[in-house]
């Protein structure tokens, strides 16, 4: 009897702790949701209970966001930037990851680590020279500057991720193809690539989410509203003078957050094994 009570108490403490963690992490997103659905008189009244609706919920902020601001344009910009960066990243990182995985000796390993370490060179160190490079190419204030610059962190990261994947793929697959008459390159294209679809899909998702999460380069290179990606537009462009359009800002933040959150949860485990580079066997 006493044991059962103790168990119940420890279960209660456990679920209580879990609940505290969930509230801590999820509350700002609940806050986005509830703010985006509240009417302005409800939002800007200190006497109201902020956690729930005091007046009828409204979609007014979403309507305003799509009709009176460049939000739809920002979403489109982010989509274009993301797709272009994904294409560039795949073209560079898939062959590189394969090549590094199959290089003999420690050369491949050393080169791979070298490429990965460039992922650690921060944007706040490179943004000054890169902004001059972008300006001299005539790309300042254009979203194409981001298409040019984002692969500097997606290529190293994805090369590393793919290198680990290709290493785990048995080399006998290619050898069998070569015995059957394939060239070395043919074996890569016809045997290795089709078997790598899951890994390539992971890379596509992560490249895309990395481009959505980026803020520093976008802030540095782009000041024209119509060229901004969605993260930058929502965070900096919905403020008129000193007035923050909180309903619209939270609505925009919510819409842009949802796809990234879903993608991350689906591919989280692969991401972790990639980022730790098999530091634990």
């Amino acid at each position: 009897m006493r044991r059962a009570v103790l168990n119940a108490a420890s279960d209660g403490a456990f679920y209580g702790a879990v609940a505290i963690f969930v509230v801590l992490t999820a509350f700002p997103f609940y806050w986005m949701l509830i703010t985006s659905l509240k009417s302005n008189p409800d939002l800007y009244n200190v006497a109201n209970t902020p956690f729930w609706f005091n007046e009828t919920p409204t979609l007014e902020h979403f309507r305003y966001l799509f009709e009176q601001t460049l939000f739809a344009r920002w979403l489109l910009n982010s989509l274009i930037i993301g797709l272009c960066v994904v294409a560039i990243t795949l073209a560079a990182a898939v062959p590189a990851g394969y090549s590094l995985a199959r290089m003999t000796g420690r050369n491949g390993e050393a080169l791979g680590i070298g490429i990965f370490l460039t992922y650690l060179v921060p944007p706040t160190l490179l943004f000054l020279p890169l902004s001059r490079v972008v300006a001299s190419l005539g790309l300042q204030n254009s979203m194409w500057s981001l298409v040019l610059v984002y692969p500097t962190f997606t290529i190293p990261f994805c090369t590393w991720l793919l290198m680990g994947f290709f290493k785990a793929m048995p080399v006998e697959i290619e050898e069998a193809a070569i015995v059957d008459g394939c060239s070395l390159f043919g074996a890569f294209v016809r045997m290795v690539l089709p078997l790598s679809i899951p890994a390539i899909l992971t890379v596509v998702i992560f490249t895309f989410t990395l481009t959505l999460q980026e803020f520093v380069y976008a802030l540095t290179f782009i000041s024209t509203s119509a060229q901004k990606p969605v993260t930058l537009g929502v965070a900096t462009d919905l403020v008129r003078g000193d007035i923050f359009f909180w309903g619209e800002i939270m609505a925009g933040a919510l819409i842009a957050s949802i796809p990234v959150a879903i993608a991350y949860n689906l591919f989280l485990d692969r991401f972790i094994s990639g980022i730790t580079g098999g530091a634990v066997k």
Binding site: P95, L125, V179, L184, T231, I249, M250, Y264
Partner: protein, 309 residues
């Protein structure tokens, strides 16, 4: 170097023959990635170093070499001294808080319980969602008038409306806010790193230690901790690099204010180099990140190589 013999020899065009040699093909395949990185990371990096010892500004793009005078001027500037101290406080404060929360959260998620998957999905949110968007949500929660935190504290009777804190307007509170937001963003990452480490330890190792008479603490500190150390170190290194060089949280939450109380290196480099257009001084400020990055890279290499042992 062992060269691998081709199993099939057949007449083929010259380029085809070249592509069939493993070393040549390997070089061709890896070249685009290396070129991209050299041109847009390596070269700009050298450019940044040169800017920092030149008199380059947007208005006067001269390449005149001025030696270390930029660095001398910066170091004597009290704003910069505060910025440097803030950066360390911001980095280690938020990493420490993040690690404590992360370890605790990982212990919770290690246990199987109904709804664990949903809980994990919710806990991962701060790290998954673009930090700029999450930060504006926090900015709204820290609002000077409509802060939900203040509202709750007032209704609980902890404070009255007249002495409600102005979170982002008070220098000390503003620093606390940027640290908390950054720790909030990183601790889910720490959780998944701890979890990845702990679940990778084979159960029989733990069982063997238990049979040999090791208690909870001994198992934790002499078996588990050394085994997960490499993976935790890699995670911590990521956290330190991305916090030490961060710009977004500070930029969106406080703009470095009030009166530079939350200014950090990345933000100061942006203010001087981009906003004011003084590229050379901005580059010099950013380069103060290098020593920390250098130690971090050494640590990274150490732990990546350890997996071979």
């Amino acid at each position: 170097m062992v060269s691998i013999a081709e199993p099939v020899v057949k007449p083929a065009p010259r380029y085809r023959f070249l592509l069939d040699r493993r070393d040549v093909l390997g070089g061709v395949l890896v070249a685009p990635a290396i070129l991209y990185v050299l041109l847009l990371v390596g070269l700009p990096f050298l450019l940044a170093v040169y800017y920092s010892v030149s008199a380059y500004t947007i208005y006067d793009p001269s390449w005149r070499f001025v030696g270390l005078s930029n660095f001398r001027q910066i170091v004597q500037n009290p704003v910069f001294q505060d910025t440097l101290a803030n950066t360390f406080l911001f980095t280690f404060g938020s990493q420490f808080l993040g690690l404590v929360l992360g370890k605790f959260g990982a212990l919770l998620l290690l246990r199987q319980f109904p709804g664990r998957k949903i809980v994990r999905a919710l806990i991962i949110l701060p790290w998954a969602v673009p930090i700029a968007l999450a930060t504006v949500a926090w900015e709204w929660m820290f609002d000077s008038l409509y802060s939900v935190i203040n509202w709750s504290l007032i209704s609980l009777g902890v404070i009255t409306r007249s002495d409600a804190p102005n979170w982002l307007g008070n220098p000390h509170l503003a620093m606390l806010c940027v640290i908390v937001v950054n720790a909030w963003r990183f601790f889910p990452f720490a959780i998944v790193i701890f979890l990845a480490g702990m679940t990778s330890i084979p159960q029989d190792v733990i069982d063997a230690a238990t049979v040999d008479g090791a208690g909870f603490w001994r198992r934790n500190y002499q078996i588990v901790l050394p085994m997960i150390l490499p993976i935790v170190a890699v995670g911590l290194i990521f956290g330190i690099v991305f916090t030490f060089t961060d710009l977004s949280v500070v930029f969106l939450l406080t703009k470095g204010g009030p009166v530079n109380a939350t200014s950090v290196l990345g933000f100061e480099g942006f203010q001087v180099g981009i906003v004011s257009g003084d590229v050379s001084h901005g580059a010099a400020i950013s380069l103060f990140m290098l020593p920390v990055l250098f130690f971090v890279v050494i640590g990274m290499l150490h732990f990546i190589r350890r997996r071979e042992i």
